[in-house]
């Protein structure tokens, strides 16, 4: 990050700010192309070839081909864009949310039915939480 942000200490959160906007543009514009049915078909028929149309970094390509949803966010993916790959795969927002948070679909669905993830203990990263107490 080029500068410290007061939201950097929120755990498990990738704010789509100027830094991510700068590194993620090509990746997200690839995702945007999937709004067109013809492009969805071309992508599904040969993903690697389709990705050649976009100037992705090697790591961005890997995250897409391996469906590393969390990895995509770390290399500048924006969730409203990367979710379009998931739609192509027939997945829902909730499926992907479960995968990003590292639990099974069933466990995630159960957590949501029970009222969702509590903010308690999830407001600050551990180190930041400790610093906050001092």
């Amino acid at each position: 990050m080029t500068q410290t942000r007061d939201y950097d200490n929120i755990p498990g959160t990738y704010v789509y700010d100027s830094e991510r906007g700068r590194i993620g543009y090509a990746l997200n514009m690839f995702c945007m192309s999937l709004n067109k049915a013809d492009n969805r078909k071309a992508f599904k028929s040969d993903e690697a070839v389709y990705l050649d149309r976009f100037k992705l970094t090697a790591e961005q390509r890997r995250t897409v081909l391996e469906r590393d949803w969390l990895g995509m966010l770390k290399v500048g993916g924006n969730i409203y864009y990367t979710i379009k790959i998931a739609f192509c795969d027939g997945l829902t927002f909730q499926d992907v949310a479960g995968m990003m948070s590292g639990v099974s679909k069933e466990t995630y669905a159960k957590m949501m039915l029970a009222g969702g993830r509590s903010p308690d203990g999830n407001r600050y990263k551990p180190a930041a939480a400790a610093a906050e107490k001092e």
Partner: protein, 282 residues
Amino acid sequence: MARIVAGIACSHVPAIGVAMDKGQTGTAYWRPLFDGYQPAREWLANLAPDVAIIVYNDHASAFSLEIIPTFLLGVAERFPIADEGFGPRPVPEVEGHPKLAWQLAESLILDEFDMTIANEMPVDHGLTVPLSVTCGRPAAWPFKVIPLCVNVVQYPPPTGARCFKLGKAIAKAVRAFPENLRVVVYGTGGMSHQLQGERAGLINRQFDTAFLDKLTRDPLSLTKISHTEYMREAGSEGVEMVMWHVMRGALDDDAAEVYRHYHVPASNTAAGLMILENRSAA
């Protein structure tokens, strides 16, 4: 003259639209949510407004990262339904109100809100889900719609305070319109939710309840909530609630709450609905 008669705050979760489109609203999962929408539908049918100004955000549908307008007004005659990656929703096209929309554009810009103007754009679930929630599944939407997009996808969105002031400027512009129109304003998005990262699924009922409680009587205190506070307390996508402030600002200071509904979960989200009426319109 035209006048704003009511405001509707409404979450715009895509899965709510999918549930309606697939006829799943009676399932054990969805029924508690949709039961709470019924009184709002009856209220709105009875109110029968002429035009709705719907404040929402586009989700990589009409606009990509290519151009990112902070505030945008749709002035078209018609707005087609966007393909968001799984085909367009099977809902009617949205009819605009170009005369009032252009009046808004001129008035807002001269009032120092530098609006982007769109003559052509498709509309996505951010706009159509609140219509579906409050109107059901009609063959045609029962009123004209003016889309007003707010960027909340690329950080930073406009502040809550700025959005509230935009609402005030909208009210002024509507009052200056010579035709006798009854207008409602929708503020959409929220409530607490996080769709991304390891922290996905965050819901904060306490935050949401306090927000709903203050929206009517103490909206100015809510306009002071920073983006970081929204993200920390209400999830990274909870910041969408800045759009509710546009609606609240457009209503009279002494507007009255007439209905609310809150339900967890709608997919990953806490779904909220609140209706405010201007006393002057009663």
